[in-house]
Symmetry: C2
Subunit: 265 residues, 2 copies
């Protein structure tokens, strides 16, 4: 083997000052290469989001729920012991239930409310959590001779269409992540939400959304009770979604990163 | 749903100061709970090490290599896209080859030597890398009427036994981690290295180790060429091991952490 080029091969010890090596605490440098290790799963998700975040009208959200293997109809079990990204080629073998027991939903509701109160005290120096409670109805309209659907969202209190309330949602990509150590798995979804004009056809179905949205760090934590029409979808679903409030911030960060790489390489 | 307790349920917007929410950069707070997310794989490995690091004479090391599925005799392929811990219950289905191609070994040798040189310049302000080149022979002795083996290590230049050079190595636990995005998987091994006296039986086998050890941040990066005796194990192996130079530092950190939890909970 090659010895370090600055010394002879029969020299056995580098002439580094011995004293500074002997402190009995762990070094605070990231690694021998001075580089911070990036977690593999985090990097995969970051790359997945980076691929899409610069599109116009893009919506990037994560939903908590359970990944069900279609073949067995129970929660996925791959023998993995830690968070595992499901190969997107296998996505058709699974379905994702964006739902949780009422108790779990209450738990999130309570701890998030506690956080709101904690960040509202006068002396609080961190970022305060913005909080919004909405009760809305989504009505879906089919576009004749297509498979497209238009969603129109109204405020139940006023009956008026909410801002940016008429959209066509187009699915771009899903990433399913199984979290065997946690009660819930999660899915990251990339959709386009294209602004549309109000359709003049009949409503095909509707659903009611009672939502509390907590905003912090550029992310909206949406805790929602969803109820379909009494005849078609009467069950109450309890959802928790995390949505990037403004994907242009991500796109901006990605541009900076791309520029950094272009300059460095 | 419960609204945040400090406001009425029909109030739709929290009275947080709007201005500080509108800066167009990502928040630097760790999360809505002010807690830094811990990577699942990192936590699993940390817990695994924590379980053993307080034992006496414990050796904690990671080896780079390839996880081979015994059934197929090729590198494991679980369909995982990111770093995945193999369930220890399944360890018997795999063997770990602590070996790499000569070219890869040369690559590590070169970049580590470059790092040594970089940290040796007078103005360097970070932690310097300690460097040690050893050429040693391990001789193994069986203990009559047992399955135990004693290892005696001598310096080839002097023929003398090296400090702490007579040990009995006892395997405690292995954790295999498959890294599908990397050329090499890795295994974390916990062993006891019990000091022994020199056996007076015959040597059963021996091997030669040409090793460069780079020390930084409490970790020794050992790049080793291993060669068995000409008749029994003539192939040259190229190993890279990372070893905690002093597991008492880890044990100390764990004590502090346990104390912290005991006080907090």
């Amino acid at each position: 083997m090659e010895s370090s080029t600055k010394r002879k091969s029969d020299e056995t010890e580098a002439p580094a000052p011995a004293k500074r090596q002997q402190t009995n605490t762990l070094s605070r440098e990231y690694s021998i290469f001075s580089v911070k290790a990036v977690d593999d799963v985090t990097k995969y998700i970051a790359d997945f989001i980076a691929e899409h975040c610069q599109r116009e009208n893009v919506e990037i959200e994560a939903k908590l729920g359970i990944l069900i293997e279609k073949r067995t109809n129970v929660r996925v079990n791959m023998g993995a012991l830690t968070e595992t990204i499901i190969n997107p080629d296998d996505n058709r073998h699974y379905r994702f239930e964006s739902n949780m027991p009422l108790e779990q939903h209450r738990h999130f509701n309570k701890i998030l409310n506690d956080m709101v109160n904690k960040t509202q005290v006068r002396e609080y120096r961190g970022e305060r959590i913005k909080y919004k409670h909405t009760i809305e109805t989504d009505r879906f309209y089919e576009v004749p001779n297509t498979r497209k659907k238009i969603r129109v969202t109204t405020d139940q209190a006023t009956g008026k269409i909410v801002p940016n309330g008429i959209i066509e949602k187009i699915r771009i990509a899903d990433l399913n992540i199984h979290a065997p150590n946690q009660a819930l798995d999660f899915r990251i979804s990339i959709n386009l939400e294209l602004p549309r004009t109000k359709p003049n056809t009949e409503t095909s179905f509707e659903r009611n959304k009672d939502r509390i949205s907590y905003q912090h760090g550029g992310i909206a934590f949406d805790l929602t009770q969803v109820k379909g029409s009494a005849d078609k979808d009467p069950d109450l679903r309890h959802e928790l979604e995390l949505e990037f409030a403004d994907s242009s911030i991500l796109a901006n960060e990605k541009s900076k990163h791309d520029h950094f790489l272009a300059v460095m390489l």
